[in-house]
Each structure stands twice: as structure tokens, then as C-alpha cells.
């Protein structure tokens, strides 16, 4: 019989919405947050009024509301993914240089991004596969990764081929160096930092099973 406490908190791997729910729950009340395009956008569905979170969109707005529908749709009010959105009471607009000063200046508490790979020391690769014929496009990914106080990544742990995206060293071109603080995956939550990678909790598998999948030494949360 094991004397260690289990960190497995779910019988099954988490789906995209369950993962978004978990990230939302982990965001401290009162935070200023930027949600990246794609899977991170789902997090907004699970933020509660009591949390009092202010969403930033890098094209120039704080206090962004949910996606616009029907009559609400206004071509002058879009998010960074160019989707029509709404404004909440207390919203503010500003130009692009101010918007990125909000990130670079360390005013944004958390950004949530997708990733191709995250390294043992929190390097992020999420903008370019490095394929020679691909047209490179970076947008605000590097600014977000470097500027926010905490960078949370949401991704599946494994590629379609079954290879871990949490790696010793990124093989894809980097977006930022040592910037990722947490990695939320379908199989586990990882805390990354200068002292290595710690598994906070696992879903549908044990710590030992995660260690077999990930090619770097992992620590177990106390």
C-alpha cells in the first residue's frame, strides 16, 4: 500500500470544457486577464461574477464582454480573434501602443495561451512550426508571453502521434524564454519554473503514468 497521497483528482482525462472550467477556477478574484485565441477563449464561459475578472483584448480594450449576437454585432467592436464581442459596464478603449504597454509593463496578471510545445524551464513555442513553406505570423503571441505576470498554457499533453508536448527543450521556434508558469493539459496540470516541473494533479492516470509519457524528470506536488 502506498503511503503517498494520490494527486489524481479525476477518473478520466479532462475534455476541453472541463479544462477551461479548471483554469477559470484557478484565476484569482479581481485579476486582469487576456485569453488567447482558440481553446483559451473557452475559459471566459466559466468565469463567475463573484470573481470580478476584467478581460483584456490586445486590439485595445479592457472590460470585454461575451461574443456579440444578432443586433449586438458591431464591426467596430471585435476581439483579437476578430470576432464581434460586447462591452461590459466599466469598459475602456485605448490605442495599440497603450494596449501592449499594459502587457509589457507588467500590469496584466494572467494570460492563457495555446502551445505547440513547452520546455522544462517554461520556454514557449506556439507561433510557428518552422516548416520552410509556412508563412510566419506572430501577432501578439510574443508580447503576451513576455509581458503577463503569469502565463498559463492550455494544450493536450500529447500530439496526435502520441508524443509529449512538454519537452526538455523546444524543437519548434520559440515564442518566449522561461515565461510559462503553468501548463493545463487533458491528463495533468504542471507547474513550471526555474526549479523544474511539478505535477499538481492528474486526470485519469497516475503520477507514474504521466512520468512515463513526459521525457523529463517530474516532481510530485506535496
Amino acid at each position: 500500500m502506498s503511503t503517498q497521497t494520490s494527486i489524481q483528482t479525476s477518473e478520466k482525462p479532462l475534455g476541453r470544457d472541463e479544462l477551461a472550467q479548471l483554469v477559470a477556477r484557478d484565476i484569482a478574484p479581481g485579476s486582469f486577464v487576456n485569453l488567447g485565441i482558440g481553446q483559451p477563449t473557452l475559459v471566459s464561459n466559466y468565469l463567475t461574477e463573484e470573481q470580478n475578472i476584467t478581460l483584456h483584448t490586445e486590439n485595445g480594450m479592457l472590460g470585454m464582454g461575451p461574443a456579440a449576437e444578432g443586433e449586438e454585432i458591431d464591426g467596430d467592436l471585435i476581439n483579437a480573434g476578430k470576432i464581434p464581442v460586447t462591452e461590459l459596464p466599466g469598459a475602456s478603449y485605448f490605442h495599440h501602443a497603450d494596449s501592449f504597454a499594459i502587457m509589457r509593463g507588467g500590469h496584466l496578471d494572467i494570460c492563457v495561451l495555446g502551445a505547440f510545445q513547452v520546455s522544462a524551464t517554461g520556454d514557449l513555442a506556439n507561433w510557428h512550426t518552422g516548416a520552410p513553406d509556412a508563412i510566419p505570423a506572430v501577432g501578439g503571441a510574443m508580447d503576451l508571453a513576455t509581458g503577463a505576470k503569469d502565463v498559463f498554457v492550455m494544450m493536450t499533453l500529447l500530439t496526435r502521434e502520441g508524443v509529449s508536448k512538454l519537452v526538455e527543450k523546444c524543437s519548434y521556434p520559440l515564442t518566449g524564454v522561461g515565461c510559462v508558469t503553468r501548463v493545463y493539459t487533458d491528463k495533468a496540470v504542471f507547474l513550471t519554473g526555474p526549479d523544474g516541473v511539478t505535477v499538481r494533479e492528474t486526470f485519469g492516470c497516475t503520477f507514474e503514468e504521466i512520468q512515463e509519457l513526459v521525457p523529463l524528470p517530474l516532481k510530485k506536488a506535496e
Binding site: N59, L77, N79, A97, D133
Partner: protein, 228 residues
């Protein structure tokens, strides 16, 4: 010198071949479609264009690119599902691309307007986009030296101008407008409405008229349909 001009064609008539042209807008919000169409009609070529993207669909900047009028794009996000004209020119080796992280793009434009000769920023450090650039360890982190982006002309869109050229914008359509207005030698603004001097609250002016050279009113009915 501020001029109020009757048509977009007259507004862009002085744009020379080989100019660097900043074009405002993020997606369709704040994009000065009518001024871009006029730039197309005026025939200026060999242009360097500064915009966040590299054209979408079959309109505006995408058409300028298609017609081979753009020699170089300076942008952060050229690849979109409907950026086929840029894609074709890029793969044919017929257009140069300077890819810049979005915040560096904004700050380099701002620096030009503010008379800053360059600045160090942590964004991009350790990435391929910082290769060959000077780096320094400042304020506890590695930072990369970036230079200002100046332009001959800026084409931007605002909601209202008053008789002094003071501008207000609308929602997220503000985006690059204020910083491009300051960074260009000649700033051309299309507005939905020209209002009497004194009717804009000075506390709410976003771009002071000193940055504006030409104002042209464009009836923006239908802008609501131009959703990205």
C-alpha cells in the same frame, strides 16, 4: 497645414511611388477602406505598407498586393484563412516581409511619432525575430533593441473630426490610428462626420489635430456590415 478635402481621390493624389504608407485598422475595424481603394486607383507603386495584417479577401490592401503595388509588408500577422493574395506573392518571392511582434510594431510606430531613436524591449528575446539585434540585460531581464518605423503617409479612419483636425474614434476601431497619425509625415484621415470646432469635448479628444494633415468625410453607412 490642415486641409479638408472633398474626395478620397484628391486626398491620396500626392502619394509617390516608393512611399512608406501606414494603414490603420485591425481586421476590418478601423480600416480606411475608401482611402485604400483610392490609393489603388491613384496608381502609386513600389510601396512599403505598414499594417497589422497583409490584406484579407478580395478588397482593400489585399487588392493592392494582388496588383503588385506593394514591394514590402511590415506587419505582425500576414497569414489568415483569406490572405490568399499575400500568400501567392510571398510564395512567388514577389513581396518582402518584415515580420514584427504586434506590440513591437505598435511601439516602433509610437517611437517614430515621439522622436525616439530606438528602445529596448523584452518582447522577442531569444526568438528568431530578434536574431542579429543588439541585446542588453536591463531591469533584471534580457531586452532587444528595436528601431522606430517612420512613414511618408498614414491612411487612417476616425469617427469624427472637428475644424482643427482633432479626432475621436469608435470602440476597437481606434487601434493603430493615433500612433500612425503621429508617425507619418502626412496623415490622411477619413471620418464619418466633420463637426464644428468647439463641439468635441477637449477632454475627450484622442488625436490632437496637430498630427492631422488631410480630412475627408466618407459616408460610412454599411460599415456595420463589414464585420471581420
Amino acid at each position: 497645414m490642415l486641409n479638408f478635402i472633398d474626395t478620397v481621390g484628391e486626398a491620396v493624389a500626392g502619394i509617390q511611388d516608393g512611399s512608406t504608407v501606414m494603414i490603420g485598422g485591425f481586421g476590418n475595424a478601423g480600416q480606411p477602406f475608401e482611402l485604400i481603394d483610392a490609393l489603388m486607383d491613384c496608381g502609386a507603386k513600389d510601396l512599403t505598407v505598414v499594417n497589422n495584417n497583409a490584406g484579407q479577401g478580395d478588397q482593400g490592401l489585399a487588392l493592392l498586393i494582388k496588383e503588385g503595388r506593394v514591394r514590402k509588408m511590415i506587419c505582425s500577422f500576414p497569414r489568415q484563412s483569406d490572405s490568399w493574395h499575400f500568400d501567392a506573392k510571398f510564395h512567388a518571392g514577389e513581396i518582402e516581409l518584415e515580420l514584427v511582434p504586434q506590440g513591437n510594431l505598435a511601439e516602433r510606430i509610437r517611437a517614430a511619432g515621439a522622436g525616439i531613436g530606438g528602445f529596448f524591449t523584452p518582447t522577442g528575446y531569444g526568438t528568431t525575430l530578434a536574431e542579429g539585434k543588439e541585446t542588453r540585460f536591463l531591469d533584471g531581464k534580457w531586452q532587444v533593441f528595436e528601431t522606430p518605423i517612420h512613414a511618408d503617409v498614414a491612411l487612417i479612419k476616425a469617427l469624427k473630426a472637428d475644424g482643427k483636425g482633432n479626432l475621436v474614434y469608435r470602440k476597437t476601431a481606434r487601434n493603430f490610428g493615433p500612433i500612425m497619425a503621429a508617425a507619418a509625415k502626412h496623415t490622411i484621415v477619413q471620418v464619418s462626420e466633420i463637426v464644428p470646432t468647439g463641439s468635441l469635448d477637449p477632454e475627450n479628444v484622442v488625436t490632437p489635430g496637430i498630427y492631422v494633415n488631410s480630412v475627408v468625410r466618407v459616408d460610412s453607412a454599411g460599415a456595420k456590415e463589414k464585420v471581420a
